[in-house]
């Protein structure tokens, strides 16, 4: 199932009305992502990385064209269906961690599972497993304000993977972290990718992240400018060049 297509966009265009003008955030984007990929959307600010990530995450809809995620057309999903898709199959990691401040680490990671019909026992096991993955099992009872930036992002990763999603979408996950924490975070995600087969899609302009990517999709002015694959040794082989 390695070649199973999880994400497919066809002529995806997103336009934001800005008063009398329109801002074209994405233009005719065609992209396919397969199961198990560790890919990144790379580009300068305003190139459309986050917009594309949001549409793939069913948080937004395309203006024209289509985005298909796990066989579901994002643009035709109802609010409820989109919420279900996010809850069951998509994990999110945000630049600013977005942990729920009044919850403990355990409760933050448990949250997506509360929306699924799982027993308390099952939830506890999954949460502790996820926390083991990010080496934070001993901080289960801590509140987010008692954690460092790196620890907070690891909690966010645990929250994203706890439900065993098919896709994890990470929006600038290392932007608020120092080099050492960035490395730890990326290594953790890389391990999850290789051991659990979870598909990761990043948006980033951080060189540190780019070094870890197996696939680098460069966006410029809302278009895919370059799509490159890297072998595990780091050797580049161009898959799709669209200057």
């Amino acid at each position: 199932m390695e070649n199973e297509v999880l994400i497919k966009t066809e002529n995806l265009t997103k336009i934001y009305p800005m008063g009398q003008y329109e801002l074209v955030a994405l233009s005719e984007v065609n992209l396919t992502l397969k199961k198990g990929e560790f890919a990144g959307l790379v580009g300068p600010s305003g190139s459309g990385k986050t917009t594309l990530l949001n549409i793939i995450g069913s948080l937004d809809v395309p203006t024209t064209g289509s985005a298909s995620v796990l066989g579901e057309k994002v643009e035709t999903l109802s609010h409820k269906k989109a919420a279900q898709l996010r809850n069951k199959h998509i994990g999110f990691i945000f630049q600013t961690f977005n942990l729920l401040p009044v919850y403990t680490v355990f409760e933050n990671v448990e949250f997506p599972l509360l929306l699924q019909n799982l027993t308390a026992e099952e939830r506890k096991k999954k949460v502790m497993d996820a926390l083991e993955w990010v080496y934070l099992a001993d901080r289960a009872k801590s509140k987010p304000n008692q954690l460092s930036g790196g620890q907070s992002q690891r909690v966010a990763i645990a929250r994203a993977i706890v439900k065993g999603p098919a896709i994890v979408l990470a929006d600038e996950p290392t932007a608020n972290l120092d080099a050492e924490n960035s490395h730890n975070i990326l290594q953790t995600m890389k391990n999850l990718n290789s051991e659990l087969g979870t598909t990761f899609l990043f948006s980033t302009h951080d060189e540190k992240v780019i070094r870890y990517l197996q696939r680098k999709i460069s966006l410029f002015d809302g278009k895919i400018a370059r799509d490159e694959l890297f072998s595990p040794s780091g050797q580049k082989k161009v898959k799709n060049d669209n200057p």
Binding site: A83, N87, L114
Partner: protein, 390 residues
């Protein structure tokens, strides 16, 4: 069940913000119930005092009797009918004869109502037994207000003038045998109580009465020709109307308190929605629908009301129970308000009042909590994640 669980987690997790709101709202609960309890207490206390000392279980009025027309008194008397006489003989009723007269305390004329009552009666709590004297003098009972306004005291003699059934004026001295202290002004001001038989004899109205008061426990009053039965509800209508007129002020306080409490909830909700935009976006990204987010925030607001009710119960029940037991000492001039309340007002906190107020505050809290959350229905998850409120 996930939303209530999350709401509980959120409001407990919010710490001091939650508890400040809860305390303010609980004050409102207790204050609203207290003011309403005082009003109910005033109503009940006044009604009970009137029943005990004046109205009993109702009154049969002579058909010509109109308490608001003093001129009607001349003709408002008649022989006590057989049915009522039998009730009186069985101790189930007591007749009252009322005629107009004057007294001359310290040489000044004062118009009064002369009321004749049986010294042996026990239908009302008037201390009529003081009138059971047979030394040839006419014993008279007056209230403390009457004593104060006329300067009369126990043992004093005062000349009393009246007009008998044939229209003849006559006069005689009466001796004040007791000054009674009563909360009920309508048995005190400008009234002199003397033995019924004596008054009947002086007025030439043998076996006659103006009205007959029946026992509080008497069942179903029967119709008596020439006499109209007035129920306690009818007799208490004026006092209840008066209490109701005083209730306007209390209602204003009620709504001001409610408004202040709701303002606190509304502000908290507005603040929550502005401060927690990112959280809303995160919740949506994690799989909560917009509707569920609205439910969550509404429930959080409404739960302030529930917690406030619990907090109010915690300190309010012992406080109000103590208050209901010791009463509220009224200022000395309360006597002139026109209520038969006494020196202390004892609030009444009925189950209906407590439950009704609690329910009302909870419903309004929920509505007030819901109103600001409607903004969430227009919120795009992507904007929320960026901390924008569309």
């Amino acid at each position: 069940m996930i939303i209530p669980k999350l709401a509980v987690r959120n409001i407990l997790g919010a710490g001091i913000r939650t508890w400040l709101n809860v305390i303010v709202l609980s004050f409102a609960f207790v204050a609203i119930i207290t003011t309403q309890g005082l009003l109910e207490g005033m109503n009940e206390q006044a009604a009970q005092a009137m029943i005990d000392t004046q109205y009993g279980g109702g009154q049969y009025w002579h058909e010509n009797y109109d308490p608001f027309d003093p001129l009607s008194l001349q003709d408002a008397h008649g022989v006590i009918p057989g049915d009522l006489k039998r009730m009186v003989d069985r101790g189930e009723a007591t007749p009252l004869l009322i005629i107009q007269g004057n007294i001359y305390p310290n040489g000044r004329i004062r118009t009064i109502l002369l009321k004749g009552i049986s010294p042996a009666q026990s239908i009302i709590t008037l201390p009529s037994h003081f009138l059971a004297q047979s030394d040839g003098e006419i014993p008279a009972l007056i209230g403390s207000r009457m004593a104060k306004s006329t300067g009369l005291k126990v043992g004093d003699y005062v000349t009393m003038q009246w007009r008998d059934a044939r229209g003849t004026f006559d006069a005689q001295d009466v001796r004040i045998v007791q000054v009674m202290k009563t909360t009920v002004q309508s048995i005190d001001n400008s009234q002199i109580w003397i033995p019924l038989q004596k008054l009947q004899q002086l007025a030439g109205m043998e076996d006659e009465a103006t009205l007959v008061i029946i026992n509080k426990t008497a069942q179903n009053a029967t119709a008596v020709a020439g006499w109209n039965f007035k129920t306690p509800d009818y007799l208490l209508k004026d006092i209840r109307d008066m209490v109701q007129s005083k209730a306007i002020g209390s209602t204003i306080i009620y709504f001001i308190l409610l408004f202040l409490a709701m303002l606190a909830i509304f502000d908290t909700q507005i603040l929550s929605i502005f401060r927690r935009r990112k959280e809303m976006g995160t919740l949506m990204a994690l799989g909560l629908t917009r509707g569920k987010v609205i439910q969550l925030f509404t429930l959080e607001g409404a739960m302030h009301g529930v917690l406030a009710a619990l907090a109010a119960a915690l300190y309010g029940i012992p406080l109000l129970a103590y208050f209901a037991r010791i009463g509220w000492k009224l200022p000395s001039n309360t006597d002139s308000y026109g209520f038969a309340i006494g020196e202390k007002l004892f609030p009444t906190f009925s189950a209906g009042l407590v439950l009704g107020t609690t329910l009302l505050v909870l419903i309004i809290t929920t509505i007030v909590s819901f109103l600001p959350t409607r903004k969430i229905s227009k919120l795009k998850p992507t904007d929320a994640l960026r901390g924008k409120l569309t």
